[in-house]
Every structure is written in structure tokens, then in C-alpha cells.
């Protein structure tokens, strides 16, 4: 019986292949969207770990998160060196990482920091940064670059590099009188760290003329000149400070303390909460994508329904022959349902196969453009569930042409209408 269904399908193979293809494409879309969603969320949550607080000048929590962790957007306000020192001395603070941003190297953001960055910054599951080559910067004109930067700009340890003002790819104000030498290249993390250039604060102060005041300095920069009386700081202002605490429960109290700090208006956020909050704002987009892919699946299944219904007309003869040979109406019903199951199974399997092929081929492209890896890992429970639902929907839908075939079988009998 199954062989008969196969032979009959093979006879209509052009339409059958098209049906399989449309189901395959809708499967690719549904699973692809699911995969990108889950892996994006994982990657997103993996970008920062171990940091309890992010502090910046008064701004929105999403903005502070995006600019400090993802290097998206610019912080227009800055916090002073004094505030940084104040934060360092708050009770319960285990470590701090200063960050000054705003410059770039051929489109890659430059983060001015100190060696605390390499010592304390963690991502993923509490993983520390590691060097693929070289070591942390020691001189004020040395730099450390992320894996993607090194690859894209073909930089190796001891190469020279010029920092530009502003975040654009092209800048009219290159700080080319102060080239930086590469001291180290970080191992790949799969986070925005790969796309950043790290220089010492003093180095930034140098190119901006803050550290060694330079009268010949003509470019205008956003940093305010507020000469302090005490020991010369490397820079006058910072964009953000990452803070690690001795015990996590203190975070809430410190957030309140920092937000009400009198010296300067500051904002403190807890990165985990801020990430969740931000992810929630993305859910609308995510849901829209999901709905679209579900609709595409429905369209694919309706395509199959149309094909099956249309095929019933040309198959009346076939049905009458089978009927004359003693096939019951239920057999014809089953024939139609098994055909739908076969088409859908092949379609779904083709879809999964193509998806893995695409993921395998396009993984480097995803890495480069999205900044994270969409890996061709085994199907998750949710994905299996989706595949099962597609199959169930197909079976339910096939009841319509199957019921028609059943009715025709009873009504037409053995008269072959052409």
C-alpha cells in the first residue's frame, strides 16, 4: 500500500517536489528564527559576567548598558575622575574597571582602561580574558586588541596602529602623532570584546593632550577640562566604571547610594537586570519574527492542501480502479493521509538538512555581522516540538482531501468520471 502511494506520488513528482520544497523552506525559517532567538539570547547573556554594577553619568540604564558592554551608541555625559576615586573607596567594592570611550581604530571602538580590565573582566560562565598572543599593555603607548580587530586589520604583536577621534570608520582627526604599538591580542570570546581595542588611560590622556598638556593641540574633543588640584590623573573624565563587589546582596544598597551621590549625578545599574530588561524590549520584534515564520509554515501547509485537493480530480480514475480491486473508502482515506505525512516528513527533513548546511556555511558570516555564532548544534526539545507540530498540522489538514476522497469513493462507485 505504501509502495502504491510512493509510485502514485512519483507519478506526480513535479508538484510533489514543489510541495516538499515549500515545506522545507518554511521549516528552515521556523527553526532558523528559533535558533537565532535562543542563541542570540545566550550570547547576549554571556557578554558580561561577574560584574555587579555598571556606573556612568546620569543616563538611561539601557543606554549605559549598550554603550559600556556592547559599544553601541555613545555616552554624551561623563563622570569625573573624582567620582571614580569615590567609587573605588565605597564599602564592599572588591574591584573597579574604569572605561573611557569615544575614539576608534578604523571603525572598531577604543576602550581606554587600565590593567584591571584584564584582571577582573569576566564573560560567559565566569571566564576571564586570555591572551592569544603577547600580554597586557605596560607602556602608555601600547595597546591590546580583540580577536576580530586583529583579524580584520591584520595586526600582529608589535605592529603600529593609529587611533582616530570619534567612532566613525573615517575621521579627519587622526591622532597620528601618537601611534600605538600592539602589546597583546586577546583570545576569541564571542562577545563584543573581540571587536574592541584597549589602550591605557594614560595613553588616551596623551593623545587628547590631557596627560601631558600640549598647547599645539588643535582638535576639539568632548572631554571637559577641569583641572584638579591633586595629583595629575591620566584623564579627567571616564565614560563608565565596572564594579565587582565583595558580596552580591550589597548591590541593591550601593545602587541607591550611587544614584543619590551628591558630588555628581550618577547612574548605577546591575548588568543582569539591565540585560533582561533590554531583552524584554526586543521581545516584540522576536515575537513578530516568530509569528511571521509560523504564518510561512501555515502557507506551506496550505500549499500542500491545495496540491492534494487538486490531485484528487486527476486521481478519480486511480481511486475508481483501487475501489474496484476492493480497496475500502478508509484505505483511500489512509492513502491521502499517508501521502501528506510522506510529503511533510520529507519536507521537514529536507528543511532541517538545509538549515544545518546554511548554518555550517554561513557561521563565519554570522560571526562577523551579528557578532555571535549560530551553531549547527543538535535539535533542541523546542525544535523537535515545532517539527512535531508541523507534522500534526499536516496530518490534520490532510483529513480534508482524505475526507473528500472518502466521499468520492462512496458516491462515484466504479463509474470513472473524466
Amino acid at each position: 500500500m505504501f509502495r502504491l502511494a510512493l509510485a502514485s506520488l512519483w507519478n506526480r513528482r513535479t508538484t510533489a517536489w514543489l510541495t516538499v520544497l515549500s515545506i522545507a523552506i518554511s521549516t528552515i525559517l521556523l527553526l532558523g528564527v528559533e535558533r537565532v532567538r535562543v542563541q542570540a539570547q545566550e550570547n547576549f547573556a554571556n557578554t558580561i559576567s561577574g560584574t555587579d554594577l555598571i556606573v556612568g553619568a546620569r543616563t538611561g540604564s539601557t543606554q549605559l548598558l549598550l554603550s559600556s558592554v556592547f559599544h553601541i551608541g555613545a555616552l554624551t555625559n561623563t563622570l569625573s575622575w573624582n567620582s571614580y576615586q569615590h567609587l573605588q573607596n565605597l564599602p564592599g567594592v572588591a574591584w573597579t574597571i574604569p572605561m573611557a570611550m569615544g575614539d576608534s581604530v578604523r571603525g572598531f571602538p577604543v576602550v581606554a582602561t587600565n590593567t584591571d580590565w584584564f584582571e577582573h573582566f569576566q564573560y560567559g560562565q565566569q571566564q576571564y580574558l586570555e591572551f592569544a598572543a603577547g600580554s597586557a599593555f605596560a607602556e602608555l603607548d601600547s595597546a591590546v586588541v580583540g580577536a576580530d580587530v586583529a583579524e580584520a586589520l591584520e595586526l600582529a604583536v608589535a605592529d603600529a596602529m593609529t587611533v582616530s577621534h570619534g567612532s566613525g570608520g573615517m575621521s579627519f582627526s587622526d591622532h597620528d602623532e601618537h601611534p600605538f604599538r600592539i602589546a597583546g591580542i586577546l583570545a576569541r570570546t564571542g562577545t563584543p570584546v573581540d571587536q574592541a581595542v584597549y589602550i591605557p588611560l594614560a595613553g588616551l590622556g596623551l593623545v587628547h593632550g590631557e596627560y601631558q598638556p600640549n598647547t599645539g593641540n588643535t582638535h576639539d574633543h568632548e572631554h571637559e577640562h577641569q583641572h584638579e588640584a591633586d595629583a595629575e590623573p591620566p584623564v579627567y573624565t571616564l565614560s563608565a566604571v565596572l564594579i565587582g563587589l565583595e558580596s552580591k546582596p550589597m548591590a541593591l544598597r550601593l545602587v541607591r547610594d550611587i544614584n543619590t551621590y551628591r558630588g555628581e549625578p550618577l547612574t548605577a545599574i546591575m548588568p543582569g537586570l539591565a540585560l533582561q530588561e533590554f531583552w524584554r524590549t526586543l521581545q516584540l520584534f522576536e515575537r513578530a519574527l516568530f509569528i511571521i515564520s509560523v504564518l510561512v509554515v501555515v502557507t506551506g501547509l496550505f500549499g500542500m492542501l491545495t496540491t492534494l485537493l487538486a490531485s484528487l480530480r486527476e486521481r478519480r480514475r486511480e481511486m475508481a480502479v483501487l475501489r474496484s480491486l476492493g480497496a475500502g473508502p478508509f484505505t483511500l482515506f489512509g492513502l491521502l493521509v499517508s501521502e501528506a505525512v510522506l510529503l511533510t516528513t520529507v519536507g521537514v527533513a529536507t528543511g532541517v538538512g538545509l538549515l544545518f548546511l546554511v548554518l555550517l556555511i554561513a557561521a563565519p558570516w554570522f560571526q562577523a555581522t551579528l557578532g555571535f555564532v549560530v551553531s549547527p548544534s543538535a535539535l533542541s526539545t523546542t525544535e523537535w516540538l515545532y517539527l512535531g507540530l508541523i507534522l500534526c498540522a499536516a496530518i490534520l489538514m490532510s483529513f480534508i482531501p482524505a475526507w473528500r476522497a472518502y466521499r468520492n469513493a462512496l458516491a462515484d462507485g466504479l463509474t470513472v468520471k473524466i
Binding site: L4, V321, V416
Partner: protein
Amino acid sequence: MSDCCVAINGLTFAWPGAQQPVLTIPQWSVNRGERVLVRGASGSGKSTLLSLIAGIHSATSGQLNVLNHNLSTLSQRQRDRLRANEIGYIFQQFNLLPYLTAQQNVELAVQFAPARRQRIAASGQTVRAAAATLLDHLGLTTAQQQQSAQTLSVGQQQRVAAARALLGAPALIIADEPTSALDESHRNEFINLLFKECDEQGSTLLFVTHDATLAAQFPRVVELNELNVAPAVHGGVHHV
């Protein structure tokens, strides 16, 4: 009674929803091994009578016995099973599934018919060999037997259809105008082959046609007009 293949007693049949019956047959019977020609004009209810005997439709009233089974007491499934096992059916044309070979089309006969399979096995043959033997008898070459059904001529297709109806020696062969698509010489050849094979297997042949010229070849000829006392239904269209 036991040598009765088809026995009809006070049978009426009306299409669902129709007021007038298309068939009213007070009394008629066909004995086992008989070769009967039922002649009737188009729309006289020939196909309807055949679908009743084949168990596709049920009589509205009266009794219809096929091979000692009262069809009105059988379920749909039992009637399908009886048809599969004991009735070989030949259509006017388009008997074959175009995407199967001639051989596969013949073998299809036992797909739903365990009794036919058993009879073939009892004769010490495989289904494949039995099908090949029948096709040989009916004059298809080995090469033609492996050809796709749609590449055969109409005459060859009808012979393949006959082989399928005959495979596994069903008790009753029903032929619904099987020769109307054939020219005269092919027609006579086809009928002779059919007779020969039916005799060999001991099958009853119920042959329906509108063509009066075939009457000379059959030992028994029945005019459906005389059999059916239902008022003539004009047009003969019976779609549901």
C-alpha cells in the same frame, strides 16, 4: 441455490434523494460458470446494476445475493472484501494505473484480496509468476509486461485489465463495456480470450454492453429493458 452466482429477488434501487427508482428487478439469476451478456442502451441502469452486484452501493429494497452472500446484510467493509476476493472488474477503459508497469497493474489484484493470494499459492505459483502466465496467455510479450501501462495500446491495456480481473481466479468477472474502445477484430479477439480464461478458471462472466452485435457470441443474452421494470429514467445522469 449453491450453483447460483447472482440471485436477485424484488430488487429496487433509487439514488439518495431521488423519488423514482432507477432499477426495479423482480427476479433474475445467473448460475456459476455462465457467460451472460446484459444488453442495454446508455443510461438504462447498466452501470448501476453492476455497482450493486459489486457491492459499491446497496439496494434500496429487495434481496441481492452474490455467491450466496446476501449483500444487504454485509457491512461496507465485508462487501469491499467480497469484491476484492471474488469479483474481477473490467472497466470500459482507463483500467490501469498509468505509473505502474503492466505486470505491477496485474499484481495489484491481490493487494486487497487474501483469498486470491491463497488460491495462487495453492496452485504452487508465486503472484508474479501467475501474473506473467496470464499476461502470456493474453498475448503480451515479456517486454510489454514490463512496460509502463501508459505506453501500451488501448487493446493491450484492456488485455492487461482482463489479466488483473482474472488473477487469483475470482468466482465472478464483471466487464463493463470493455470492448467499446476496441475495433471489431480486437473486440472479437478480446472476447474469445476472456471466454477461454474464464472457462479455464471456472469463473462466471457478466458482460455488459450497449452493442447488440456481440450477442451472437454469448450463450445467454439478457435485455436490461426486459429485466428492469422501473419507469425509464431519461438522460441517465445519476450524479450525487
